[in-house]
Symmetry: D3
Subunit: 278 residues, 6 copies
């Protein structure tokens, strides 16, 4: 997981945003030790407990979680209990629920997509994209793994992904792949995005590590996957382009290695949570 | 709008997140001046142009927008044109679309909610909550205003909002309001969240600036609004609690001043955009 | 109060400023546990104890305060006792006294102004302005509240204040107020600065929440306050413009709600404190 | 002067403090190019022009100063002219005047102290202390030099200053000085604070670079200065301890090298300035 | 290359370190436009020009380079010419030469190692490790690529590297590799460090992407490389462990894919440069 | 030493650099409490223990050192023992060894230079320069003191050093020194770099605190030192210019006060260390 000391640095920024001067409402209250419970208002997968914990502990409260990241919780289930001064609890409540709600929402949808595809292809990976919220990439990506998904590359520094716009500057896909193999560190993989059968075949022959079929119709995808496999049994094949939980079952997923879905992180459905002070 | 020099500071953090070392893919490309277009792939309200512009200009490219924040665009409409080295354009593309997609998504939904309620009550304000994404509160709030909505309070420092958990530490709602009036700066308003008719009436009598009916059923809300108005014509009345675009029409909104909706910012539907290099 | 974890972030910046490399004087000393006392060298109100405490605890020492923020102390009274390695104590001494001296100085002067006006108008609030020291706004504002004063708005984001320069872009004060009411969030109040009777009356009629009489002579102020009250009993009235402890008694303060005074924070008289190692 | 690019970094923090979200008042205004003038409302020495300039230029306006740092200005004199969008000017106005007012206030008082002592000892230096405002040390120190004063050490890393609390851990002043000479870099000077004649003589004999007579009465100071000069013609002699503009003339300053005064920076009288939009 | 806007952020930190208050020496000088030249005092490969350029341009000077990163320069060759105020040039000189000297030193040694191994195996890559200087990893890594080397993984987030300490927690190397393949994103490669023939063979069979022979003697390395190749022609083979320019020729490098050398970045020999003002 | 709370701030930056998302390798491991030892793989002086300690404690582990900064250790000697979760240990290992290796390398070379010169001149100080690594100046300087050396000035704010480029803007060296004495704070020393006998004599007569003979040949240096001593017994004399451990014995060092050597910090030989998990 993200190092806890770095999570704390992010949280301090979030606190500054939400309390630029001081909390004028809790300032009206006396100091009083209280207990609170965070509970689920829906069913789903919890992700981000360590982040919420750090929010409350930085504010001086104690946190004790009843579940672990990745666990499936039911409606009304208690997620965590918190003890501390009522001011700490009320100052941390909103941002703790905001991040926990977002991360759990991502994990829950990821798990649902995996559930849907498991029968057809139990090895298929559901992947995130770089369509994350600016500033929260590592939290969004982590939430995807908690839901059982794959992060895909984290950022522009850790894998080569040659897309249409990059390829247009080379004479051919083969030339682009060759250049990448010669130039980029051996420690990075090389993925190529293709938009038709011909390109897919060229990429397979040129030795791409991963071929992404972008915006292929289900039937077309099925055909091209077969063609690629005739050339190379081992190259990884990714489907991409507006595939979401609503339409994932339209695709034949055998022989496909992973599906990447921007909606996992760009259109998050918040997981519904609440904090109740006793 | 947010001061541009401060937007730039945020963007540098986002760039560090997405390019912690360097972009190993665009590094393969020659320098080449190109033009690109950002266009809408759906209908809706655009928000956040200045943020996208700054992303590209910080990377050395030129930006020229065809529309303004708040304008309604149609599918395929060109939003902006960018000129510069292909590396700059490709390095900025993803985060520029991520923030523009989020902000425009928020603005679009806000506008849709307003559209729905306009006939019943043209003065009704649709408001955000503090259920924003950590680190992006000011962008989320700004996007709501672009869509025609109201930011509600920005953070814990700029308005008093006495919720159930706060009120439980006072002997009565009246006492809480009195304490707030005496203690908090005259420059801040005082809002009270109530959960039944009795509390609503007490808050109205005690002189709250705003009364929030939290989780009232439509019919109950209608009744209590009337009761409040009998006491005070001018107090602002807010409805809250799981009100979203899907169910907003269930509420009778006459005499209500504003609706606050967490889903506007906690469950954003990304606005679909694309960048095409010519 | 300001969240303690955020105070610590500020303190680290202050320590970097004062110890950019290391303290070459205390570096000469052996490690030795000592006790020290911070005591007042004048009478007045103490403010900022938590800030000083955090300075010493961040440096590894223990702090125990004998008084609380807002308490009146007498000359020679011991404010706090500190235990720890002599190096920690000597490294923290200066910045701890600098901030405690500034904040207590502000609180003391605020309390003195209130003392002076209490007899005439016990409900009158003494307010700060935005004439704070860059980087210390929240500490300056907090110190004012400790002295019994009112923060006024914290910053440009949390209240509308229409001054002469803003008003000049509207056809009338009424138009400006109307525009603000329509455009700005319901969560913010609207204050208008006026420079003569006519403007004051217009502002009162147009529904400003607060009217600031700027640079009115005492007799003129008295007259205009009366006129405003004839229009609106409830609008808040603020006097401003070079009102300080030396001349505050010149003003008739009945029916005025608050006085704002830049000198409270722009021309602070440091509270005299000393640290003595036993 | 402080590198301009670093001044800009500080200003961004100050802007974040004053505009954490956006300026809700200027947001009501149309864009409009205007001119403004900053003028003095009192006589004195101006300091900090480059800081104010950077505030406005970061906000997109143009600045043109009529005077230079260190110049004496008269009441009503125009200090600088600014052109730009009215929003930029109004957003920058307050913090620009806050820092310019503080720095000019420091410079003005420093110059007044020098004026007072010039006749007796034209070589006497008026020095600052480390009693600066946390976060603004370099601005405070710079303002002192603009007024003709001496910064004294900047911080704990750039000169040794052995005070009573340090000395108490050595068997003698001589031992402390010897230890410092052996241990501390040759690049740093060694100052010793003494509280009576005996200590002063010991410090002079042990080879301190500077001897500070702390809290000596005027007549006692005169006597001890003479004794030190009998031992060492070249050692620098500093008087310190509650010496301010009000009482500086009580001291006989011949043969003294410098006076350090905490009040120069801990109890600043703000220089009165105003910005007028044409 | 590293985005220029992010390089600027690093430089501001370096300037703060070197000029925490202001440059008291250049402050003595009048403003004067001058020209300066940076020239090489040794032969080698230049790296880091953009970083030096940004240092001077942030300080207000103009920079014009005569060579490009990666070019071989001879002793006395002029690298760049700078125009600007003498203060800017003198304030930037030292840190500009420090970073340019370090980066060029790294590039030069990298190129020398490649030169030595080229005859035996022209495809052999010379790689950096994570033995970089804290805070400068991306500059150190970039300098290696300028010298013709390979960055190896940038950090702990972008490739799996199972070392002895990791492997000890698994029942076997195979188990570790299988776990990694199942768990880690498809976008990351998996490298395994082995310390003897048996481990090497197991890693090859289990499907590691890269096998690192750690601290093998030359003759042993030759033998094991052959064994690995019998199992898998395509797996990448890395030699590591105290291999530096002095002893690299002892190793038979045919069939080896890359050598990683900590000394490239942990024991840099500074490239000798000087700045001369005309 | 550098305040520990500020060391922690630096470490967080280094951790972000090395773990921008999370450590994908240790993420594969179960939680398991282990012990580890850091031991020396060479003889030399250890420096930087507190920095390594803070790296591990920030990651949640416990550290216990067997030696102190400045102690000479032998090959295979255990430096410190660490207990904690294996993930913490493996995440901190590399940066802990990187900084400890660099600082100990600097201390070791410094001690070796001192060893070499001790017989000739036991009072001679070996000094660092500002040729440190950007971002690590205080660590580099501190390591020099641990090795027994002198930091020289820390930065451009804490001593005047007039070099050739500065002097060229004055009519004479005397004029420059006079200007500096008049203008710069009494708290700073004034050093002048000279390139021949004539300049050295002028600087000595004009009252420089330190004279640096830059790039003098050994025999020339000996002659000029004698000349300076005839004028002033007390002025400090520094030799500089490509003096390193390899050639330091060529110089006659009697009557010289210190030698400054850029190579101490610009061409560090890393101290060889290893961490072993039990």
């Amino acid at each position: 997981m993200i190092p806890e000391t770095l999570i704390e640095e992010d949280i301090k920024e979030w606190l500054k945003e939400d309390i630029p001067y001081w909390d004028i409402t809790t300032n009206l209250l006396p100091n009083k030790k209280v207990k609170a419970k965070i509970f689920a208002k829906q069913e789903g997968i919890i992700a981000g407990l360590i982040v919420s914990e750090k929010i409350f502990t930085l504010l001086g409260a104690e946190w004790s979680a009843n579940v672990k990241d990745g666990e499936k919780v039911s409606k009304k289930q208690i997620i965590a209990e918190i003890k501390g001064d009522i001011k700490s609890l009320l100052q941390g409540e909103r941002i703790a629920l905001n991040i926990l709600g977002r991360m759990s929402g991502i994990a829950t949808t990821t798990a649902q997509m995996i559930e849907k595809t498991r029968k057809v292809n139990p090895n298929l990976k559901i992947c995130a994209t770089r369509k994350t919220v600016p500033g929260l990439a590592k939290y969004d990506k982590y939430a995807v793994t908690v839901g059982g998904g794959d992060t895909h590359r984290f950022n522009l520094s850790d894998m080569v992904l040659l897309k249409e716009n990059h390829l247009s500057l080379f004479s051919s896909i083969s030339e682009a792949i060759t250049k990448a193999k010669e130039t980029v560190s051996f420690s990075k993989k090389i993925e190529v995005e293709v938009k038709n059968e011909e390109e897919a075949i060229e990429a397979a022959k040129a030795g791409a590590d991963i071929i992404m079929l972008d915006n292929f119709k289900p039937i077309q995808a099925k055909h091209v996957v077969k063609k690629i496999r005739e050339i190379n049994q081992n190259v990884l094949i990714e489907l991409s382009g507006n595939i979401k939980i609503e339409n994932i079952e339209d695709y034949e997923l055998e022989n496909v290695n992973h599906i990447s879905s921007g909606s996992l992180t760009h259109s998050v459905k918040n997981f519904d949570l609440s904090m109740l002070i006793e």
